[in-house]
Symmetry: C2
């Protein structure tokens, strides 16, 4: 008792004629006869009364027709649903986005993606880039839009944009008139950083360490706005992507020497089958030109 047999039975029941049903189904009439016989054999009684000229449903046939139609309808609905997934008119995936990128890169990316795939759903998990990387590793999310850590061998990644990290210091700071600054010059300044779990913090500390320096961290937070306000108030200096701060009163941005860049991109787990929606997003990001 398979789907094909049900289809044949339903068609014959509709048309009340084996030959007509055969035509409609583009097969020969004996094929229909055989299939109906097989079905009746399996059930143990007749579904169709062929003693008269017209084919008529038996009482049991009426009951079975109802059940068969329901099954066929559900089968068709299931196929349809899967076609929607295939056509990317249905689908969901999970993405981890740190606050910094959530504020400056993700909105444009998301808006443009939605324009192309309005039916796809994205579930965003906000967390620091380091944590985001782990979420991708553990498969809690399908992709991460993160500040790319320098070494990342076990995950695939795609660079979206790179931004220069600049020193942010109060306008009235003695160093604020320099064309560029070295870590040596900054070694005694108290600094304001993101909390643990944020790649930007790791990168800055690693840079200090390169020169054998250990800065004094005045405060750490995960609020971007807080960092800017604290710098303006003279609590300490900080390091932020050049384009993430437009114009802020009492804050001066000065490039580092040598220049330090922050790479932002998408990461995902290789050898792992992703939702079609997520693949579409990755492909989309590949084509995407990030405009600052």
């Amino acid at each position: 008792m398979d789907i094909r047999e049900l289809e044949y039975f339903v068609t014959v029941s509709e048309l009340k004629n084996f030959t007509a049903a055969a035509h409609k189904l583009h097969i020969s009439q004996p094929a229909i006869s055989k299939a109906i016989h097989k079905l009746e054999e399996e059930l143990g009684f007749q579904l169709l009364d062929r003693t008269q000229k017209k084919v008529l449903l038996t009482e049991e046939g009426v009951v079975f027709l109802d059940l068969a139609e329901d099954i066929l309808a559900r089968m068709a609905a299931a196929k349809n649903t899967m076609i929607e997934y295939k056509n990317l008119t249905r689908g969901t995936f999970r993405i981890a986005v740190p606050p910094l990128l959530g504020a400056y890169v993700f909105p444009q990316l998301f808006a443009d993606f939605k324009k192309n795939y309005p039916s796809l759903e994205m579930s965003v998990i906000e967390d620091g880039s380091s944590t985001a990387v782990d979420l991708v590793r553990q498969e809690d999310v399908h992709v991460g839009l993160v500040i790319l850590p320098p070494t990342l061998t076990d995950l695939h990644s795609h660079l979206i944009t790179s931004q220069e990290i600049v020193v942010c210091l109060p306008t009235d700071h003695p160093l604020s008139r320099q064309p560029f600054l070295t870590f040596e010059q900054l070694k005694d300044e108290p600094i304001i950083l993101y909390n643990e779990g944020f790649v930007l913090r790791r990168i800055i500390l690693d840079e200090y360490a390169k020169y054998g320096l250990v800065p004094s961290v005045a405060l750490s937070t995960n609020q971007f706005q807080t960092i800017k306000a604290l710098v303006a108030k003279g609590v300490g200096i900080s390091f932020l992507p050049k384009n993430s701060i437009k114009v802020v009163n009492h804050v001066t941005k000065i490039p580092l020497h040598p220049h330090l860049f922050l790479e932002m991109g998408l990461i995902w787990k290789p050898n792992k089958i992703l939702p079609l929606a997520c693949k579409a997003f990755i492909d989309f990001v590949n084509e995407f030109e990030y405009v600052k």
Copy 2:
């Protein structure tokens, strides 16, 4: 995309292992591989992630599993329902029963049948035997429990019981002391009959006609009780099955000469596939011994 493929997919999804699923389904492992591949080929994307050690469902696979399980469950339910029809633990049929038989033959028949097939349902249409015969012809009912008309070539029938028709007349009637009566003796008596559509009426009038007589019909009704009451009141005489009237005050029953019998039985249309429940009833009636 057929039922078998869905079954394989659901089993693999449950066991997260192709080989184990093959064992459970009593087929070889490559058969499973092939079926899953065919399914994925048709849908256009993978349902199962086989890159890791364990077989895992993809996001699309999770969705499809849900749909597949629903379809399989409905398929199983449909099969089950049909098995119930086959086992006669489910089923209905329509039967026409005239009031006379509804009162005296049918109750016992029905009660005994129900004892054997408690789950079967009968839909009873009450109408005169003549009408009942037409209902069977038109297939409005599957069987009729009727007074068998003398000639009935186009329908199958089965005799259940035969009863003698006796003359019913008031106890104080001049003829009430006779051991038997002829139609000749009754030719001037006003008679009370069933309405048109009742075989008993037809039979009585035909008997009169055999002797070239036309009786005067005082009144006709379709109420058995009315006939008895009118006879008791002396409105006229009547003719009824011997056993249908037990003891009624002021009514005397006298056999006819020659004896006239009424045959009661089941009729159904040949070359017409009946519901299994109805077949069971006909078979049951075949075995049934009617006790008066």
